[in-house]
Symmetry: C2
């Protein structure tokens, strides 16, 4: 395994006997290799070539034989520095992806924090002109959404102020989706008794809270070009489909969502990911958590033949640092 991961060429009995320091003759190694082949752990591309690991070979290797190497101090420091304190979660995660790809010389991939648990924290309305309105919505995840909405009529500055105050006082701290529901229900039930203010606020908020789901880009991929360095991926056709797969954000989001159940590092080898184009690739991921709840996933995509013992701790640490950075700055209510 180690040899193949380093060289990328099928490994033969003779050269292994010579270089691996096992003090075994080629013949012995051949016998063992034949057994391993029967077990489906290794395979040879053609009759008289050396052996290379199969997917299950990798699986066994990673699950039972691998001992991870501790990260180098300077890498740890770089991660800490760069992931310390950045503006939005989006920027933070983009940085994380970039770091992953730079350190591993492979591709980094991240999903943004899940929106489900998004808590309404503060809203602000600014009138523009022509029945248009700038809505600024702050969620507890440090996220700031700007949105321009078209309103059925013009509102005065003070009307908007009043609506914002109403919403902020009444609903801060609740889940955004719930706020919407509650507002709808309340208006429906007690329409006649409500002041125009409340009804207007409801209409506005309805518009304001509606869209942010579909706007978000769920996935960042970085450093795809690094993958061109790997000889086993180096033909155009394969590469093209790989790139296209990587850029199908929704597909990738699905794939990564499958890693989200529990924290800790997960590894998909080759077609375990369910994508043809990733047949020669592995995906090393880890979920990151905010407030002890799994929020998103980040990881590395590279050739199956990658240095897992280095990549695994790196992904692990990055996920932890991202989690910490996001945790630390969840916003107290305004």
């Amino acid at each position: 395994m180690e040899r193949y991961i380093n060289e990328g060429q099928p490994v033969g009995s003779r050269s292994l006997s010579r270089d691996a320091g096992l003090n075994l003759s080629p013949a012995t190694i051949r016998n063992v290799m034949a057994d391993l082949e029967d077990l489906g752990l290794i395979t040879s591309p053609h009759t008289s070539a050396g052996r290379m690991p199969t997917a299950s070979g990798y699986r066994l290797f990673i699950d039972t034989l691998l001992t991870v190497k501790p990260l180098q101090q300077d890498v740890i420091q770089q991660l800490r520095d760069d992931l310390d304190c950045l503006g939005s979660p989006g920027e933070l995660l983009e940085t994380a992806s970039r770091l992953l790809s730079e350190v591993t010389h492979m591709a980094g991939i991240v999903t943004l924090p899940k929106r489900e648990t998004n808590v309404f924290s503060h809203i602000e309305f600014l009138p523009l002109s022509d029945r248009r309105l700038l809505v600024i919505l702050i969620s507890s995840q440090q996220e700031i959404h700007n949105k321009i909405i078209h309103t059925p009529r013009d509102f005065t500055h003070s009307e908007l102020q009043a609506a914002a105050n109403f919403l902020n006082q009444r609903y801060a701290g609740n889940d955004i989706a719930r706020v919407r529901e509650a507002l709808l229900r309340e208006v429906k039930e007690t329409r006649e008794r409500l002041s125009q203010e409340v009804i207007d606020a409801a209409a506005l908020t309805e518009l304001a809270l509606e869209a942010p789901k579909k706007r978000r880009k769920p996935v960042f991929v970085t450093g795809e070009t690094n993958l061109m360095d790997f000889s086993e991926l180096a033909n155009m056709e394969q590469f093209r489909s790989l790139f296209e797969t990587l850029h199908q954000k929704e597909e990738m989001a699905h794939l990564l969502d499958r890693c989200i159940e529990s924290p800790g590092v997960k590894i998909y080898i080759g077609e375990e990911s369910g994508h043809r184009a990733l047949g020669q690739c592995s995906l090393v991921t880890s979920a990151y958590s905010i407030n002890d709840r799994v929020a998103g996933v980040l990881g590395v995509i590279g050739p199956t033949r990658m240095e897992y013992e280095r990549v695994i701790p790196l992904v692990d640490l990055t996920a932890k640092l991202v989690g910490a950075a996001l945790n630390h700055k969840s916003l107290p209510p305004i």
Copy 2:
């Protein structure tokens, strides 16, 4: 030229005589080709191959022989629909880039509007916690900037309100850079006579206006993978350097800035762009204008051998539509 652009193979006298409908024998064509080669307009990759255009050949062709084809109605409609009314200029331009790449099956590239002419329109401060402050800055270009700044001390809600009011009343409509300068000057000159409010507002604004320049990503590139379809670019090494060049945003920004002087379509052929990696590529660009002032550039990157007669009108129209969309929605003061 037409033949080479279609086929991508050097064109020989014999096949040209056969297929081009010129009623000339190969020998005649050879003679003419020899002349053209002496003029430096065509060249052959090796002794007994056909001829292909040089950069100056393309230049001459584009400048004097080319007749553009009108765009197909459905393309025009698609552009109009998709570029009609989108949120921020950033989104609009990203869409433009995507459209360019989809329609041409090449790569689209855009720069965001220049920030220089950015007019201060409205500012708002929201206190977060821990001496942190959310600044919402609206410029006349419909752009909304969010920024979190760390302040030297905590401010109360009403202090912030006062500061914002001061700034909005006093400086709305001025260039952002000028606002900064004016504020600095004023505070310096008349420090003792100013209320604490003004000084605080100055400090805040100083912080608030400082960063947005460097945060922006100056360039979007879309559809790079489309370029993999072109056989003349289809080797890994070349491709890699092409991709890397395309992703060096600053480099690309520089390159595109050179097209910004005047509106209208500009074309860079091969190494005219000054980039080795773009030797096999052409860049078709057009500047777009907001309020009759050139604001940014958009265009298409593809193989030198591209269908200029289709690409040119497409880039032209896209630039005009983007300009119109941005123009239309410059914000009146709040």
